[in-house]
Amino acid sequence: MNTKYFTMKNAILSSILSLFVWMSSCEKDPTPVGETAQFNLKFKTLFNGEPLIFNKAYTYQNTPFMVSKLQFYISNIELTEENDSPDKPEIVTEIGDVVLIDLEDVNSDSLSAIQGKTLTFENIPVGTYNGVGFGVGVYQELNRQIPSDFSSSHPLSSSGNYWENWNSYIFVKLEGRIDTNGDGEFNEGMLYHLGTDNLFSPISIKDGNIELVENGQATKSLVLELEKIFNNGDSSIDINTEFFTHTNPNEPGQLNLSTKFMTNFIDAISVE
């Protein structure tokens, strides 16, 4: 457009033009607008095969403990699709940017704990997907943002979930209390706060068909098994001594414990 002063006619013309451009670009899209479906991602937290209840006494390797908080971010949430020819890369459909999964509401009583926490993603193009992927934590680019950048309804707006020293969101919080001396009181606070870009951990779950038909929905149910966070071969955690970390990079012990925890956390997630 070479005139700087828009008359009414020009403005209408240009908006018709842009509408046209927009429509034609839509047409090139393999999935025309309209054919969408809903995808649900479900998380259930278990301890020894039973739904985990917050503030309930459990025993792990003879040490009594209880969980009062479990929350984590997932980001870069996507569905994957096989390409026609196997040597071409998979087709990736981004379905969500970042979600904070706070299990307080679902894990406070056994009825809702059995149901688990369900995240819904709407307007997902229909198709046959072979897997779902996401990263535990906040991916690097997004992790450069700070809570003040967001309004209060955004999952990244809470200063309680950010730690300025690391320039990072707190990817995972597991908190509770633990009885390390067997006197019946949960004498020590248990706290694992994981963060920093290095601990961002992608997971890809490819266990076959996620069939999304128009206006339909499909659900992938995942479980997180708490005991596997502690018990995982070489990176096992001795909760009697290793019960506190802020992932403080200045304290190698904390960083080491958090790294183990994140490795185990990823391994503890599987398809139900």
Partner: protein
């Protein structure tokens, strides 16, 4: 165009002679948007769509805030318990409301309350400032007045009806409601903003330097270095508002059972046993100005507060894991206090819109 003129003309005729009793339409309604000064580091100020900030609304709210007209015997105003000189916090442990009735919680600082989106009061029982402002008037421990009476007093006041017209465009005195009154008060509260010019803010912007003591306190508060103890404070009091606004049991009460807290706090709101004894972690901005401390004002000095945290608090099954014996030396304790004092920003005292208008 002509039709429009006719319609306008008709309107005018209606309202003139004989004038409806209580008519306010002669007063110009042309509200001017109020743009508060917000420190750069702060999160966005979220204002309800149906209560935008206007000069007229803020000034009306300011008057209502300072005016004992809201109380039963015309002796107590919001400002009685939230005076400006102490960062709008109550300098008295449990203030006396009307008739000398004594409360059971300490009146918190109102600075930056417009930024808190995770519940107000020590227990988070209301979500918005509009909702909040309805409560003190009828609370027998506070203003102990009936809203109907307050509204009646406002309607018969020589000055307020016009101000309600200017702020909200009402056409008649009888359109004054408690809902409009609390909207105005909430507008005033949203402009009570403090921060950005404390020594702490200046240091973060490289415009000033901490003393050695302050720096040491800062390092402990925010868990900066491996060589000195971690005081854990910054995990609950952080960000530009120096508050997560989350609810914790920070170990104040020695109880044998979660049912036994003298004040159940958050548990009263959520009805969850494990929330008993939890309170909102409040802002530490201007903390030097706002003794006494804690929901029940049990500590009169910052030294006592630090002593409490250093002790690790009292055990309870819901004691927060961050509350544990800190093992600080006398020097380290006083360094923490030195740091807390860098959070003071008295600039708001110079904001002409915040002071007593009467």
């Amino acid at each position: 165009m002509i039709c429009l003129l006719i319609v306008f003309g008709a309107c005018k005729d209606d309202k003139q002679d004989p004038k409806v009793e209580g008519d306010l339409t002669d007063v110009l309604y042309a509200p001017v948007p109020y743009v508060p000064e917000i420190p750069a580091s702060f999160p966005p100020l979220e204002v309800p769509e149906d209560n935008p900030l206007t000069e007229e609304g803020v000034q009306l709210g300011r008057r209502l805030f300072y005016d004992p007209i809201l109380s039963a015997d015309q002796t107590v105003s919001c400002a009685s318990c939230h005076p400006i000189f102490s960062s709008f916090a109550d300098p008295t442990r449990f203030s006396f409301g009307v008739n000398g009735t004594q409360g059971n919680r300490q009146g918190m600082a109102l600075i930056n309350a417009g930024f808190y989106q995770n519940g107000l009061f020590w227990d988070g029982r209301v979500m918005t400032l509009e909702e909040q402002a309805l409560l003190p008037v009828e609370d027998p421990l506070e203003l102990h007045e009936d809203w109907d009476n307050v509204v009646e007093k406002i309607k018969n006041h020589p000055d307020y009806p016009e101000r309600f017209r200017k702020a909200f465009g009402i056409e008649n005195v009888n359109d004054i409601t408690k809902e409009l009154a609390v909207k105005a008060i909430a507008q005033f509260e949203r402009i009570i903003i403090s921060g950005g010019n404390s020594k702490y803010d200046q240091v973060l912007r490289n415009e000033a330097f901490f003393t050695e003591e302050e720096l040491n306190g800062f390092d402990m508060f925010f868990d900066i270095s491996a060589d000195i103890p971690d005081a854990e404070c910054g995990h609950c009091h952080n960000g530009p508002l120096l508050s997560t606004n989350e609810y914790f049991n920070n170990g104040l009460d020695n109880i044998t059972d979660l049912e036994n807290f003298p004040d159940k706090g958050r548990g009263l709101v959520t009805q969850r046993l494990f929330d008993n004894g939890k309170f909102r972690a409040p802002t530490l901005r201007n903390i030097q100005m706002t003794p006494p401390y804690m929901h029940d004002g049990r500590f009169s000095t910052l030294e006592e507060v630090i002593e409490h945290y250093n002790s690790g608090g009292h055990y309870a099954p819901n004691l927060d894991p961050l509350i544990r014996p800190l093992g600080l030396t006398e020097q380290e304790k006083s360094d923490l206090v030195a740091f807390l004092k860098t959070l003071t920003d008295t600039n708001f005292l110079n904001n002409p819109d915040l002071s007593n208008p009467f």
